[in-house]
Symmetry: D2
Subunit: 93 residues, 4 copies
Amino acid sequence: MHGYSGDKQAYLTRLRRIEGQIRGLQRMVDEEAYCIDILTQVSAATRALQAVALGLLEDHIAHCVADAVKSGGPEADEKVKEASAAIARLVRS
Amino acid sequence: MHGYSGDKQAYLTRLRRIEGQIRGLQRMVDEEAYCIDILTQVSAATRALQAVALGLLEDHIAHCVADAVKSGGPEADEKVKEASAAIARLVRS
Amino acid sequence: MHGYSGDKQAYLTRLRRIEGQIRGLQRMVDEEAYCIDILTQVSAATRALQAVALGLLEDHIAHCVADAVKSGGPEADEKVKEASAAIARLVRS
Amino acid sequence: MHGYSGDKQAYLTRLRRIEGQIRGLQRMVDEEAYCIDILTQVSAATRALQAVALGLLEDHIAHCVADAVKSGGPEADEKVKEASAAIARLVRS
């Protein structure tokens, strides 16, 4: 069980929509759409992916990190460090 | 003809790989993989999308914007503004 | 007392260095330095600011959010939501 | 003469305002303000820096890159590559 398990179907639906956006991008490149229109769609897909990441992260802090903090011990510190590293990767990507 | 037309196959290959990454994410969510591992893959897909965008943008400046600049007139200003707006969307997404 | 209180001096030192970077940018603009060199310095200052934010966020989760989680109740949910909103602002800025 | 020279005073004013934001951040840390409030101000300063960068970049493309493109030759390619590398640094920072 993970933080996002309760929303699994919602995350799958969002990821399928993003898959559709990526296939739409392939169609645009294949039909030689205007570069700027392709870039607009790339920005939209990037933002959709980031929204999924932010949702997963909130669920993760609310469940996995919170559970580790309640149990205490070195596991708690580890989970905070691990979540912080994931946040850093997101901010820098 | 657009800036990226010569590299069309390379862009399609990259976008198909990103589509595979998104399907991999769906599998991970479906099999209830660990949240942090999913986030790492989301960051990788985001960076891959950004790399596609940066490539398209360079091709666009080198061809469409450059051609408009050589022709001169209001079209040149317009193309620079349009490219700048696309850059801003990328930086902010 | 906040999560970062123990590292207050270190954060002040980093912020003073960033202030120096911003003054350096003013000097570059004033002396009409090459645009690309200015942009390189802007990227460096932006990354330094983000590193400060990521440090503050890790301290915040390790202390304020963790304390709220241990106390339980609606305050815990609130702190997680508040931290998630701050992460979203960082990722999107 | 650079692309931004005509707007030099406006850029200096914006950078001085950002310097003020960074000094405000030092005051907040010194007075032990709430972490989330500091993070909100860091996001605002980051966005202000990015806006300066986007402005400089548009001026740079409209002038330095455009002039090189009109002159033609290897310098034109070089300027496009250099601008693209600066855009990539911005997108990734």
